[in-house]
């Protein structure tokens, strides 16, 4: 098995975690820029994706209006596999899981897509800005019933989750704090709220399709009285509450742990966090310090995280299981099937759902649990079949290019070992165990690859190599990140 340089392994690790993987050509390009420069590029890149919304809208009117979960989900998946700013989409995916909002209750794809756009635009900004945007987000206002949070008749749902799941975590506030927090967010509503609520409950598209939603502050419905929150007293409004929340060490720890959980290594599910310390307290401490030093800047926390030794360490390479969206994103970016919009994106989006992750519809306000929970009998078969089918499809332009690169400079024949090495390299310098390597070499041998004349029998060689790629896509390391 060919030895891979540390630089390559590290860059491949970064691109798997900060994006959706990278081919050898992309890795070479990033390596020539340097590791820290690549981190800066990923973090500082504005949303400069080459997504041509006009073309999507022309071909798919349902994605133009992000009509339902199918249209909105397909549109997002297309963005994920087409973007030049992968961290922007990754951070949207991160917050979509932390601030989990589900289509089942919202029943309108447009506010869901608007929320994702907000995550894209503010997800690497300062936490207080992000929480302010979140509190004004129409999908969230419906999802957690702040539309029913009135002066004199509070609904605690948003106030509770803002503290429990979105910022501080259980054990760091009292029931009274929840009530006072909720009072501060009374009047944070949406326009035409009675009509919008009816349309959402009935999932009505009549008569002229779904209306977009917009935030509206209802001053008359806001409780402007004095409140006591986390020991502070004042006539607090929502902005004041967010400011106090962001000053709390518990918030720094909670957000740091979420970032570690998503980008570095799996932590146990969030409900157990009050009872189990983080696995790497030193890493969390570094992130907490950055949180305060940077003025709650998420982008700075991520920059420090990617440049840290705890992230770079090979002990955490391949220790996360790709979520279905991450797996599909990796596969479809590699196959280059969606360089331009096409009708198959809807089918791919459905396949991601079958693997256990329906975009825009997390199972609960806790989002999806990570790690081994992605793997069960049915979903594992879907995952392996998905990766093997598309990466082994010789008609896909990205697969054809990989095969061409494998065959290049090999002369008439290629050994089984060289073929396996080059396939692993082309798919993003995948590091595998010796046992699996031997199995792949054995397959290549038995499949007759070494005896095929690459110059005279190109199509047959391409077919056999595609079968090998298909097998590589099924190995555990490809399913991991």
């Amino acid at each position: 098995m060919e030895t891979t340089s540390t630089d390559v392994k590290l860059m491949a690790h970064l691109l798997r975690r900060a994006g959706f993987g990278a081919t050898k050509e992309q890795l070479d390009q990033y390596i020539s820029s340097g590791y820290e420069e690549t981190v800066d590029l990923l973090v500082d890149n504005e949303d400069s994706s080459r997504i041509d919304d006009a073309l999507v809208r022309r071909y798919f009117p349902d994605q133009s209006v992000t009509h339902d979960t199918s249209g909105a989900g397909s549109y997002w998946l297309y963005r994920l596999v087409s973007t030049d700013s992968p961290l922007r989409e990754k951070i949207a995916l991160f917050w979509h899981n932390v601030f989990a909002t589900g289509y089942t209750k919202v029943t309108n794809g447009k506010p869901m897509s608007d929320q994702l756009r907000m995550f894209r635009n503010h997800g690497l900004a300062k936490l207080d800005d992000l929480l302010l945007e979140l509190s004004r987000d129409p999908a969230m206002i419906i999802w957690l019933d702040n539309v029913d949070n009135h002066n004199g008749a509070i609904n605690e749902n948003y106030g509770r989750e803002l503290l429990e799941l979105f910022s501080m975590g259980v054990g760091n506030y009292s029931e009274d704090d929840i009530k006072e927090c909720s009072r501060a967010f009374t009047g944070w509503s949406i326009a035409n709220s009675d009509y919008i609520k009816q349309l959402a409950v009935r999932n009505s598209i009549m008569p002229y399709g779904k209306l977009a939603w917009r935030y509206e502050y209802k001053k008359d419905d806001h409780d402007d009285g004095e409140k006591t929150f986390l020991g502070y007293k004042g006539n607090f409004n929502g902005e004041d509450i967010i400011k106090i929340i962001c000053e709390q060490p518990a918030t720094a720890k909670f957000i740091s742990r979420h970032l570690y959980h998503f980008f570095v290594a799996d932590e146990p599910p969030v409900p157990s966090w009050p009872y189990k310390e983080p696995q790497d307290l030193a890493a969390i401490a570094i992130l907490e310090k950055t949180y305060f030093d940077s003025g709650y800047d998420i982008g700075e926390m991520i920059r420090v995280l990617f440049n840290s030794e705890f992230f770079k360490s090979e002990t955490c390479h391949y220790k996360k299981i790709k979520s279905p969206v991450e797996l599909a994103g990796n596969v479809l970016r590699t196959t280059e099937e969606f360089k331009t919009p096409n009708i198959r994106i809807s089918e791919r989006n459905s396949q991601v759902t079958f693997m256990g992750q329906q975009l825009l519809n997390p199972p609960s306000v806790e989002g999806w649990h990570q790690g081994l929970e992605w793997i069960e009998t049915g979903s594992l078969a879907e995952r392996v079949n998905f990766a093997s089918q598309y990466l082994g499809d010789i008609t896909k332009p990205g697969v054809r290019r990989i095969i061409r690169n494998v065959m290049d400079h090999e002369g008439e024949y290629i050994s089984a070992e060289a073929c396996v090495d080059k396939c692993l390299d082309q798919l993003g310098s995948i590091q595998i165990s010796q046992y699996i390597y031997n199995t792949l070499v054995e397959f290549a041998q038995e499949n007759g690859i070494p005896s095929i004349n690459l110059l005279k029998d190109k199509e047959n060689a391409a077919k056999k190599i595609s079968e090998l790629i298909s097998l590589v896509a099924s190995v555990p390391e490809f399913q991991q990140s």
Binding site: V65, S74, N192
Partner: protein, 317 residues
Amino acid sequence: MDGRGFMFPVDTAIGKNGRMHTVSRAYAPATAQLRITMYDIDSEYFGIYGGYGESLGQFKWPTGMASDQDGNIYLSDELNNRINVFSHEGNPIKYWGEYGTKEGELKGPSGIAFDSSGNLFVADHMNNRIQQFTKDGKFILSFGNKNQDTLNMPWGVFVSDDGFVYVADWGNDRIVKYDSNGEFIRSFGSRGSGNGQFKNPSGVAVDKDGYIYVTDWGNERLEILDKNGNFIESLRGHATISKWADEYFDSNYEEAEPRSRSNLEPDTVQFGGDPHEESAHIEKLFWGPTSVKLDDDGRVYVTESNRHRVQIYERTG
């Protein structure tokens, strides 16, 4: 799917006796809703025809519609690369067209229009050209991709009574005028949102006085130009509640009542000048105007995909 209403309609043909045929493109998981709906200007409903598939009378990505002199309805299908033909009553007659890039072949047939001789012009959008066929599909002429004025993913096409061909050059943000032999005459417009400018125009039609109507799709508006391309007027949409919608509200009081208390025309300042967002929030505005058609009485029909309706204007001057 049966009954009235549209699901992401993209074009309307005005057929025999003023009967309107509007095609719903629907979307991938809801392919059962692909259909053509027959009705008239008084909202009288005559039924539906067509459906998703590749067999006779079926289509996958319906886009452009036209009616021939006998009242038969022609429908382009961008995915099956063919032209479907139906009778005035909606019975399938035949289809023709082959995928490819050679002359006479199609790659994403989009807008279609008949000339006065009964030949069909097709915006062959992925081949960046216009092709002319007999109504039975025999190739006659191809143009629009042979010089510096090459089209870029053209969408709507229109043939005036005096034989000039107008093309909504979607990717180049302009309207292009050709003579009946496909010779370039001139173009109107440039990319932008100002008067006389376009952002991805989708449809074009010219009335008997030479006024040019353009569905300026990316700007979510209808622009009207004089015969020299000078700007006359811009319309953002003025939809009222249709008879069908009215009947829906009559039987769905739970929605009608809170709707009656709602502000459905908020100040547009909050949408940052983005017409797509404005239209997403304000129901009466055009949202996704995909085609413009004219009838013999001077009415202007704008099919808009994202609000599932057709807005009809009458000329007042």
